[in-house]
């Protein structure tokens, strides 16, 4: 790569960051200053700078989750000034750039806070509960092999686009962190809606929605009370209409259960 150094002027920001050694240790806020930051630094690159400095001073660097740094893997996760992912529309924390901040800004940095996401260290939490929801029923039960030709079942473009809108979810958990109830309804709704819109997924639709709702309760997620904070912070702008779809699919399942054409899991 070219060894081009950015000629933009630099800034300093004050970080007030949550530090916690482990799930059962007490946490506290700690203040650090990030110096020499340019507008082209991503937020996480700014944290890299702070961490390099901490390591050199012999202090523990700030633990934070990150991986792809291009907004698709869903690993990065921190609450910036009270907003998961920092408040730029349709943007994960790793894609938030420092040009959105000013020299001298104070930035509060906290982990996702939700009952279902225990803290591992500093800004890192355990989001295994989201995997549990998918394991409950977030799939089409097809076998490897033995499926029909891909074009055997036409799917209307609007249905297909609707499924894709729902499937854009990256599973970061910002929706849960933003929800006053710590609900995973947007996450679960998106998965239920994706499959409910497709002929391949419709066969198991009642079982799926029932199992996912049960799993949400077991994992300690709350319920939806229509605050819509989830969509506001979603880096993929997943629509709350998918929560409505989940509710509709759940009611359809209840009717089917009454009619005896479907037995909810656990009965």
């Amino acid at each position: 790569m070219s060894a081009q150094t950015s000629e933009h002027k630099t800034m300093s920001v004050k970080l007030i960051v949550w530090r916690q050694k482990g799930p059962n240790e007490p946490g506290r806020f700690e203040t650090h200053v990030a110096k020499g930051i340019t507008e082209h630094h991503s937020f996480l690159e700014m944290l890299d700078v702070v961490n390099e400095d901490l390591i050199k001073q012999g202090k523990d660097p700030i633990a934070f989750d990150h991986d792809c740094r291009e907004g698709i893997c869903g690993t990065c996760s921190a609450v910036v000034n009270g907003v998961p992912h920092g408040g730029q529309k349709r943007t994960t924390l790793c894609q938030l750039h420092m040009r959105k901040f000013k020299d001298g800004d104070a930035i509060y940095l906290e982990p996702w806070r939700a009952r279902a996401f225990p803290i591992i260290r500093d800004l890192v939490v355990n989001r295994g509960a989201l995997d549990k929801l998918i394991q409950a029923a977030g799939y089409v039960s097809c076998h490897t092999g033995g499926v029909p030709d891909a074009n055997a079942i036409p799917i209307s473009k609007p249905d297909s686009d609707y499924a894709m809108d729902a499937a854009e979810c990256i599973g970061c958990g910002a929706c849960v962190a933003a929800c006053p109830n710590g609900a995973a309804m947007l996450f679960a709704g998106a998965k239920v809606a994706q499959f409910a819109a497709l002929p391949q997924g419709q066969v198991e639709a009642p079982e799926r929605v029932a199992a996912m709702i049960q799993a949400m309760q077991e994992c300690g997620f709350g319920n939806c009370t229509n605050h819509y904070e989830c969509q506001a912070v979603c880096p993929k702008d997943v629509d709350v209409k998918f929560i409505a779809r989940l509710n509709r699919e759940f009611h359809k399942a209840l009717f089917k259960a009454k009619a005896g054409t479907f037995t909810p899991i656990g009965e």
Partner: protein, 638 residues
């Protein structure tokens, strides 16, 4: 040693079908007695673990990420190839086979590529059945688009997030098996050693990244699907956690490393903005369907705003040099062409390291809305990173390290030279030769996992006794001691430089000396310098914290240590391969017009390196490549 890839003989069209019949099966009730360890949960690993679990094997699945869904396959944007010929434009299994062999510059095994082309169609069927929302037309049928190196439209896609959707499909199949109890999942768990007993792979030693616990998992076979090693260049399009560690540890335990110097530099990435940068971001190759690549004809125009440079002063160099394929020339060729323009002083943007990717003409022809519908998310991403609007001014792009064609050597059954060790996806060396065509990585990952390993692993297991090696085997204890020892060593050095500083130093050296253009001098220099960086690392790295806790610096240090050993092997391979082919460009070997000059008489083989010790020269083994169905020819995209 002359290696045998054990490719089936006879007519290529029947090779995979015949081989499937020739292989033995494991009796269904016996399958659950076999434990298979699968490392990695990307397309290859997740599809393999799910399919093997479904067949009845007892599977354990490992990933360093907090969830299997985050493996880096998720970042693939453009699409997945298949020979469906839905558009009726002349595609066939034969053509995909031909394009892939030619695209790889005749350095892959014919039978493997045939099989890949054949099962490509099953993959699309499988993914649709899983509920993957591929793009469709208004009649409800699947849509396709074109990718580099092909003259047919065979690339299936899901907006700009094809990798994500395919991975979520494989992840859902994996999740289903986890619920069924046939697969046990170990997230935030990193493989740090391979346990080899009597020459066979029988276990892995892992570190629990949350608690720091180091333990052994034994099994009857080990499947590595741990991805590629392009972070050896430090700045690449890979995720931060992508590393060579799993396959390097296996290599140090005896698995041969195949063609490490075959590395892909992707032509369309966002140029670097500064020294602090941690990664480079890819812009999907699909953009080249509608974007035209150019640089100013005159050097003095390079500083001007692009829109002020008149048409006659623009050099659409790909269209000029490769009129048949134009902007869709293969990646290695496009990358080198971009470098050439910049080396001539006609690059644009900071440091003159960029070329324009311009949508002006397509927007004029189709309207901004159509372009937005096709690539909206990519334009958004571009704007977030560069603060520039790609609809108004041309994007700036520059090549960046992206994909490793090289990897552990495997035979036709995807088994390495160590019996019981299977390697899938980007981690193996097999089908892409010296250059991978766009939209073929997803195809390979899923082919290996869904449709190859479920058959070929049985051919190994049929002769083995289940549960032969238990956790109390001396080799297991030794492996744990080794891993504990190296972890302790890293923590005890307490020097002055961070792991990040070392990988950055190594990456710059690798990019300059072993990147898009390589020479005897540059490689010899790198081989001399790498051991010095390694030595400095051993003496002066600083890793804070302890081993018995969540410690990201320790993870980084371990991965960096492996890159520091591995980098030398890439350079040695690149030095020994005294020809140019695909992504491996030796400046000594080029035609007058700058095209790569292959040397089939001396180098039509896969190089497989045997580890002899860190600081010792590895030993070269060769697998001769035979081309019986496609004639070796000079690759031309003109």
């Amino acid at each position: 040693m002359i290696l045998d890839g054990k490719a089936p003989t006879g007519p290529i069209e029947q090779s995979w079908d015949k081989h499937r019949f020739d292989m033995k099966l494991v009796n269904p009730p016996n399958k659950r007695k076999f434990k298979i360890l699968v490392v990695g949960t990307g397309l290859a690993g997740a599809s393999a673990a799910a399919s093997l679990g479904e067949l009845g094997y007892n599977v354990e699945s490992f990933c360093y990420q907090d969830s299997p869904r985050r493996a880096h396959s998720i970042a693939a944007q453009g699409g997945i190839n298949a020979a469906k010929n839905y558009p009726n434009d002349g595609d066939s299994i034969w053509r995909l086979f031909y394009d892939t062999i030619k695209g790889g510059d005749f350095r892959s095994r014919e039978a493997d590529v045939w099989r890949l082309s054949q099962v490509s169609n099953n993959i699309i069927d499988q993914c649709v059945a899983q509920g993957v929302p591929f793009a469709r037309d208004y009649a409800g049928y699947l849509d396709t688009r074109s990718f580099g190196g092909a003259q047919v439209s065979r690339t299936f896609y899901a907006r700009g997030q094809t990798g994500q959707q395919l991975l979520l499909g494989a992840y859902s199949a994996l999740s289903r098996q986890i619920k069924a109890g046939s697969v046990k999942l170990f997230p935030r768990t990193e493989m740090l050693d391979l346990v080899v007993v009597d020459g066979e792979a029988k276990g892995i030693t892992v570190r629990d990244l949350v608690t720091g616990e180091i333990r052994v998992h034994t099994g009857d076979a080990v499947v590595l699907a741990s991805g590629g090693y392009m972070n050896v260049f430090y700045l690449s399009t890979n995720a931060m956690g992508c590393s060579v560690t799993a396959i390097w540890k296996a290599h140090k335990k005896g698995a041969f490393f195949g063609n490490p110097c075959f590395t892909q530099i992707h032509p369309t990435c966002i140029p670097q903005a500064g020294d602090y940068q941690s990664k480079l971001t890819l812009m999907s190759e699909s953009l080249r369907n509608d974007g035209r690549i150019w640089v100013p004809k005159k050097k003095e125009d390079c500083g001007k705003p692009a829109n002020q440079i008149p048409e006659e002063d623009r050099d659409y160099y790909l269209e000029r040099k490769y009129p048949t394929f134009g902007n869709l020339a293969p990646r290695d060729i496009s990358s080198r062409a971009a470098k050439e323009q910049c080396d001539e002083g006609r690059g644009v943007g900071p440091g003159g390291r960029g070329v324009y990717l311009d949508f002006r003409d397509s927007i004029k022809r189709f309207g901004e809305n159509v372009i937005r519908e096709r690539y909206g998310n990519l334009f958004e991403m571009y704007e977030r990173i560069t603060d520039e609007n790609g609809y108004k001014v041309p994007m700036r792009i520059y090549p960046a390290p992206h994909y490793a064609m090289g990897g552990l050597w495997v035979d036709y059954n995807l088994m390495s030279n160590l019996p019981g060790l299977f390697v899938l996806g980007e981690a193996n060396f097999s089908v892409h030769g010296a250059n991978r065509l766009g939209a073929s990585a997803l195809m390979q990952g899923l082919a290996d996992g869904y449709f190859v390993i479920p058959y070929t692993i049985a051919d190994y297991l049929k002769d083995t006794k289940p549960g032969k090696v238990k956790a109390d085997h001396p080799e297991c204890a030794k492996s744990i001691d080794d891993v504990r020892g190296s972890t302790k060593k890293l923590l005890s050095i307490n020097g002055n430089r961070t792991p990040f500083e070392f990988i950055r130093e190594l990456g710059i050296l690798m990019w300059n000396n072993c990147g898009m253009a390589r020479s005897k001098e540059s490689l010899t220099e790198a081989i001399a310098k790498i051991p010095a960086i390694r030595e400095e690392f051993r003496k002066n790295v600083k890793v804070s914290g302890t081993g018995a806790e969540f410690n990201q610096q320790l993870e980084n240090a371990g991965r960096t240590a492996d890159f520091l050993e591995f980098a030398e092997l890439i350079c040695r391979d690149a030095l020994h391969r005294d020809e140019s082919c695909g992504g491996h460009f030796r400046v000594e070997h080029q035609y007058a017009d700058g095209e790569a000059k292959r040397n089939d008489a001396d180098f039509a083989y896969a190089a497989a390196w045997e580890f002899k010790g860190v600081d010792k020269e590895p030993e070269l083994h060769k697998e001769p490549l035979k081309f019986e169905n496609i004639h070796l020819a000079v690759r031309s995209y003109k």
